[in-house]
Homo-oligomer: 187 residues x 2
Amino acid sequence: MNTPITIPLKDSYKLFNHGPVSIVTSAHGNQRNIMAASWTMPLDFSPAKVAVVIDKNTYTRELVDASGEFGLQFPMRKNAKLTLDVGDISGRDADKFSRFAINTFPAQKIAAPLIADCIGWLECKVIKQGAESMDLIVGEVVAAYADAEQFLNGRWHFSDDPQKRSIHYMAGGEFYTTGDAFTTEDN
Amino acid sequence: MNTPITIPLKDSYKLFNHGPVSIVTSAHGNQRNIMAASWTMPLDFSPAKVAVVIDKNTYTRELVDASGEFGLQFPMRKNAKLTLDVGDISGRDADKFSRFAINTFPAQKIAAPLIADCIGWLECKVIKQGAESMDLIVGEVVAAYADAEQFLNGRWHFSDDPQKRSIHYMAGGEFYTTGDAFTTEDN
């Protein structure tokens, strides 16, 4: 698996400022679940906050509401299939971690496991701010990690190998790989 | 400029489901402004809603609060510089449209102008849902358009020319081009 290095919380927005697809992990008691989420964004720098849309009818939402915690992680292209697989069945019917043989490692500040084959990870605690009526969950980031190989000196330096890069979800099973970095001077 | 074709509102989330950087336009009375925003996401399919973070201290926020409207558009790589330029000065001090010679065309359902050199455009009406304390503006999408050349049959078919593709913002003046499309069968 990739080696997660700890990222300062103030830099955690950089893990997904570019809008990659994410995977949400959750746990409460002896229950746990995993779902994909495209609708997520940073919400503040300090304290670092994230916003993620989690439908009120989902099992993930039930566990997030009950535990007040969730993990948010960013898969690499090599694991694109995982983000589709976990949407195919409900976690109420099967333990998706077992079903899809998902490798995890323990989080430090939340009970939900983190997924090994990702390149960025956030541990989040839910902040109640009245946004729940919009299916919107707001979380404060309490820990952040990134792939030691690709996140260096406070920013992504994505591999030339597209299989290691983050991905963006379109719809209907279609993704985009994160493309090449540029500045307006290169343009 | 690109030719905007009308998109059904139910498909409007597809314009930015993949997390590109956006530009917010706003107008109230004879005032108007423009700012870049990376922190934006779809919030619902039907009625189509968007969430965008607009700091309470900005001139854009003042105009959006006063008018209850905003335009949200997605630039192509060729116009990456525009997204940086409009953050360099405050709209309180200068009309950025004139300063940066920005080509616009009129929106249909909102007063704010839309920016010609983009590939996707949303006209939005603010919905008050108690999220304002988080610098979060929620809008209902009331009109949507996309570049006729690249949005076909309800989805993006990005040009092979990276200059025409959407872009994702990292930090510190760095962007990523939207990379190649793939499905898990290609992977």
